[in-house]
Amino acid sequence: MSAITLTAELSQLADLIAFVRQAAQSAGFVPDRIREIELATEEALVNIFQYAYPDVMGKVRIDCRMVNDSRLAVAIADYGIPFNSLDFPDPDVGAGLEDRHTGGLGVFLMKKLTDDRQYRREGNQNILTLVFDKPGSGKDRIGDTAQSEPFDRSESWP
């Protein structure tokens, strides 16, 4: 298990993403899947920067750990106001050009690229955990969470 804590702002995005990339690399994910892991993490972080800390600057902490050697759990904790991006309504991805809006698109991508995801409020923290299955570990990659082993929701980070 490894963790990083940085200021929750765009200037720290590259370092936060690099940390998650390294964890995914050490866990043996293939490069294409690592880009998806980076993307899901970026979308989660950008929303936290904007909505958990609308007025004040705060910290964000990321913990990466392997679960049963087959799933990477990326837990993102912040100390801002209660905020759960999973509550965002999905965008209309079938809308034509003129009616197309991009609100909620990042969270939609995040949901599609994770095998499981969970939000909880714990004390003064928002904790969003993104879970990525390792291909070849007997689980399907995208969207097929029904067949996945349930992610242990009682376990706490950090």
Binding site: S11, L13, R35, V93, L97, E98, T102, L105, G106
Partner: protein, 111 residues
């Protein structure tokens, strides 16, 4: 993120976009292309062969540029997307509103 102008012919400019378009680089990407859009009159073909990564911030920029060009009677086309980048366009439904081609030749032929 880097934008390089490759060629201009038949009233279409082909630019290569390389590197990463994320929440940090998207504003720069959009500003650079907007400047080009407001100066020129041609259609725009973005060759994304060298693009490693795009997030929703980049999609937002591309949508803005597409709408701007369309208002002006011009078109945006994309070509040569890598698999992971193409996947982001597919999941977001952008593949249905922006023409995407396998190669620059295919894009110019279809235009």
């Amino acid at each position: 993120m880097e934008i390089v102008k490759l060629e201009e012919k038949d009233n279409c400019v082909r630019v290569a976009v390389k590197g990463r378009i994320d929440a940090v680089t998207a504003p720069e990407f959009e500003a650079e292309l907007n400047q080009w859009v407001s100066q020129g009159t041609a259609d725009l073909l973005m060759d994304l062969n060298g693009l490693d990564y795009i997030s929703s911030a980049g999609l937002r920029s591309i949508l803005g540029i597409t709408k701007k060009l369309k208002k002006d009677g011009r078109a945006l086309m994309l070509c040569s997307l890598r698999d992971t980048v193409k996947e982001v366009f597919d999941i977001s439904g952008f593949s249905t509103i922006i023409p995407i081609y396998d190669s620059p030749e295919a894009a110019l032929k279809k235009r």
